[in-house]
Amino acid sequence: MALKIEGLSVQVGGVPILKDIDLAIAEGEHFAVLGESGAGKSLLALSIIRLLPAGSRPEGRILLDGTDLNALTQQEMRKLRGRTIGMVFEQPWSSLNPAFSCGSQIAGVVRLHHAVSPAAARARARHLLRLTGVPVERYTAFPHQLSGGMQQRVAIAIALAGDPKLIIADEAGTALDQERQDRIAALLQSVVSETNAALLLITHQFRLARALCSRGAVMYAGQIVETAQMEMLLDRPRHPYARMLVDAVSPSGFRPIPGAAPEFASMSGGCRFQPRCPFAEEQCAKPPAWTGDVRCWK
């Protein structure tokens, strides 16, 4: 299942947030989207599954094997959600309904996608629990009775219930401590390669991106500023922001980027990083062209 995003722009309440996003994920590829909080990473994920907040206006094309998702009706889109595109959310405890047992929630989603008997759905739910490393006895446990790591595993099991070909993991596991994060990452890796699905990992953890993904993109203020192979992106970034972002959390110490991310409502027409960029020149007042890998004048 290949995903290709062409010139995606999203306005929320009249304010342009995402601007000219171009992105391609090949079949079975693992792709990371990196960037600080508020860069629009989650909005990008929501625009792919078309669950944008009310008052949003997306433009551009999101091609999933040639079908433009932006041109589908909500009914057609609903058939793709969960079945073709699975999604794992950041906070597992709030993405599970507190009133139902974990197993029954997985079984419910199974029945949403496959016309099977309740018993068969329960069997499939137990299989998914095993697959994600949750003890099968915890089938009847309610979300609050599970640890954060277990909840995240259940959320992944739910995302897998419809056999998706593309899994979007929005900060999956980021809310956990580092060791559990790594285990969730390993789990994601194994289930994704087992099901041969493509992975779109949205994260601000370079460690996870490097461990899981072969290619990645860095986002800043609603735009992709650089796309490259993972080693290249993290070891030899070319865009000034990508460079400073990687440097900011390098092992040699914490070096914050001076200034703050711009307000979306009062953004100038030029390069969005220009006000904070140490290499800014006159031409940066005009929007730099997107060459397919770096969005910078140099």
Partner: protein, 269 residues
């Protein structure tokens, strides 16, 4: 479970048994008129005496209980179904649907419920079915309000968004994520609703707009007792007592349920 809750269950069970099996214990035909026995005092044949037409008061009481309970349940079920559907639709889809439904709810709420019911019955004409329809039309708004509120807050939660992201349609979302959190408040309101419907039906029948004679009904019996109030007060006291007993027991049950569900004052009676 506390002692009070046990008593409450016994009392409600008593009402249910009376409603289901009461008529089986009736010693006489509730509609059998016998002029020679009119206004008879209690006797072996007529345990509670007879009314102005010589009909057995106990038999009429027992039959009336069944009529009343089933009519009140029908009122509540209809109101609950209509109100819940309206609340779900408005809360789920929002926008124009919500605005229109909200407007209708406000219009209905702006009249006293009984007045509204009277208007409906005067349009439809008297009769038990019309009375049920009228009272349901005057009671659905409260359920709609409560459901809409719960749905609007619940819909924003991440797990509902997550379910949407998993391809859940409106039916799945409503069934699994939106109705369960609204259910406790709805049950409590429904119990109060049955109690209020019993009283409202009696009022309609008292005014001659509810059941059509000779169907026995407590409100109609109270009305029929008026000419004999000074000489035969029992004709008033028996149906009035039954009415108060049923309504009070159900209010008690509703209050108990509310306390058990730990619901605050937001549940209206």
């Amino acid at each position: 479970m506390t002692t009070s809750e046990r008593f409450c269950i016994v009392a409600v069970a008593g009402i249910v048994v009376l409603a289901l099996f009461g008529p089986l214990f009736a010693p006489n035909d509730p509609a059998a008129v016998s002029v020679e026995n009119r206004l008879a005092p209690p006797s072996m044949r007529y345990p509670l005496g007879t009314d102005g037409l010589g009909r057995c008061v106990l038999s009429r009481m027992l039959h009336a209980g069944r009529v009343t309970i089933f009519a009140a349940l029908a009122v509540t079920a209809t109101g609950l179904a209509v109100g819940t559907s309206a609340g779900l639709a408005g809360g789920y889809w929002g926008g124009r649907t919500d605005a229109i439904l909200n407007y209708v709810v406000n219009v209905f709420l702006s009249f006293p419920a009984l007045l509204l019911a009277l208007v409906f019955v005067s349009v439809l004409g008297p009769g038990l079915h019309h009375g049920i329809a009228a009272l349901a039309a005057a009671s659905w708004m409260r359920y709609a309000r409560v459901v809409r509120g719960v749905v609007r807050t619940t819909r924003q939660l991440t797990y509902v968004q997550a379910a949407l992201a998993m391809g859940a349609g409106p039916f799945h979302i409503i069934r699994f994520h939106l109705l369960p959190p609204a259910a406790p408040a709805l049950w409590v309101m429904a119990v109060f609703g049955v109690a209020n419907a019993i009283l409202a039906l009696a009022v309609l029948s008292f005014l001659g707009l509810g059941v059509v004679p000779p169907t026995p009904e407590w409100g109609a019996m109270i009305e029929a007792s008026r000419p004999f109030l000074r000489t035969h007060p029992g004709l008033l006291l028996w149906p009035a007592g039954a009415l108060i007993g049923f309504a009070a027991t159900l209010h008690w049950a509703g209050e108990t349920l509310r306390r058990r569900e730990r619901l605050g004052l937001e549940v209206e009676r």
